[in-house]
Amino acid sequence: MTAYLIQRLLSMLLSLLGVSILVFWMVHLIPGDPALMILGERANEAALQELRQQMGLDQPKAVQYARFLSDLSRLDLGRSFRTKGLVAEEIGWHFPPTAELTLAAMMFATVFGILAGVISAINRGGFWDFATMFGALAGVSIPIFWLGLMLILLFSHQLGLFPVSGRLDALLDLEIERQTNFMLLDTLLAGNLAAFADAVWHLILPAITLGTVPLAIITRMTRSSLLEVLNQQYITTAYAKGLSQWIVVGKHALKNSLIPVITVIGLEFGYLLGGAILTEHIFSWPGLGSWLLKAVEARDIRPIQGGVLFIAALFMSVNLIVDLLYTYIDPRIRVPSATV
């Protein structure tokens, strides 16, 4: 197990190094002079030269990359030329809203995806199976930015059930001190239950929007995995003993069939981090995605580099955790990996 862990960590570091080369080269691949981009067209040559020196752009590429890595090891991701803020601090501030949104979306997708997958599997070939599978296919085909707009149109504008955008009602927002920038946590820390309920209310439509694609994929995975388990002999034995379908499925089959579903949940996390950019844009959600998009629009290179590296590291860490969890849960994988 330890050898496996070390091997995985090394391979993750190698991939991260690759991503760091990619983001480092971005500065040089983007057409135009980075110093000119930061200081603007009116900057004089002396100022441009000074900034180039400051940024190390006059050094050979290898030296620049070494400096980039050394800064990275101290978590120094530079400053945004747009906001003048430290990139690392800005990531720290904008990550909680995205984390809250992705976790809520994943919770929605997991609960309803497993439920729909089970319903589909136990009704194999029937109407509910067909309806669920068509729904799942529609779920992976829908542009989530359009789905978000349709949810806003229906539930916010027509029915008035949910807020259109943002994380909290403007008036309640004044009462809440942002300690962690996790809105649910901050409202609870402030002991303001009305604000907490309002924050949950604001979270629902964005979470459904972002969670729809993973929901569809988890549904399909649960169905196929459960069908495979239901074909095994111990399930036939359970039925032969006279157990009811709910006990056989719920107690004996579902637990085993969920093992591959866990991997899918892990993989979908990457999708959620990408999809969050679109969802946050529609719902004016002040997370990492919106922040990154503003940086892209302004061609603000440091936040783009930092944001991409952060998301890549996060994505790889989640995949590693899921793989380890998978090895832990499924002894069939644990045994051979122990000998690696």
Binding site: P143, W146, I311
Partner: protein, 260 residues
């Protein structure tokens, strides 16, 4: 298949079906609801939504075809080389693919568009690069399986060149999974490119591209819902068509999956 045939027929016969030119604007009729003259209403500058939607189908099909063709060609080449030669070539190419896979696809596409500059062509290039690893992996796995088969060994024994073996003996046997993935990939490419345009990183202002039509009007959703409903439904049905076809092809070409 039916959905896709309809879309292909529409895109081929667009000039016969449209009622207005896609760039014809009548500002006095801006944001008019659907009527006899403007079947799906008009947009914020008075352009006919229905006609722009039809022209958009051409763009979307082109995006899907070009992006998938690009990633299939490059990905297949990488996969073939990695699987057939193994060793350092395999290591180098597949580690490169791992780096591309280390980033969520939308994010990687955004990075590439940032480097290349925002335009529809660059969005297609970006989407194409994003999906290269999928095809490389499929081809590599298929080649590894096929290259040890007797008829490939026999071809090698009679002195056939590597390229001959790859083209005549290996590639035809790897086509099934490739076709399935490419069909599903068309849908994914159309979705991603529309997403990039929606974020302002794809099609240029004025182009009748569905993602851009949504971007231009999503703030007007309450005032003129038809400007948002139509392009979204179009993207959704075209992607659904490709996904249905891909699923059907998988059932036919890979009977193992059918059982589950």
């Amino acid at each position: 298949m039916v959905i896709l045939t309809v879309f292909v027929l529409i895109s081929v016969s667009v000039p016969l079906l449209v009622t207005h030119r896609p760039d014809e604007a009548d500002i006095s009729k801006r944001l008019s609801p659907p009527s006899k003259t403007h079947w799906l209403g008009t947009d914020r500058v008075g352009k006919d939504v229905y006609s722009r939607l039809l022209y958009g189908s051409r763009i979307s099909i082109k995006i899907g075809l070009v992006a998938v063709a690009g990633s299939v060609l490059v990905g297949s080449l990488f996969g073939l080389l990695a699987g057939y030669y193994g060793g350092w070539i395999d290591n180098l190419l597949m580690r490169g693919m791992d780096i591309l896979l280390a980033l969520p696809s939308v994010l990687l596409a955004i990075v590439i568009v940032t480097i290349l500059g925002a335009s529809l062509t660059n969005a297609i290039v970006a989407v194409s690069i994003v999906y290269i690893p999928q095809y490389a992996r499929i081809l590599r796995a298929a080649v590894l399986k096929v290259k040890e088969l007797e008829y490939v060994l026999a071809a090698r024994a009679v002195g056939a060149s590597d390229w001959h073996i790859l083209l005549v003996a290996v590639i035809p046997n790897c086509l099934a999974p490739l076709i399935v993935q490419a069909t599903l990939g068309m849908g994914a490419a159309i979705l991603d490119a529309a997403g990039l345009s929606f974020l302002g990183l794809g099609a240029k202002v004025g182009q009748p591209e569905w993602g851009l039509m949504l971007r231009d009007h999503f703030t007007l959703i309450r005032q003129a819902p038809w400007t948002v409903l139509a392009p979204g439904l179009a993207i959704f049905s075209m992607v659904l068509g490709f996904n249905l076809l891909g699923d059907g092809l998988r059932d036919i070409l890979d009977p193992q999956v059918k059982t589950t």
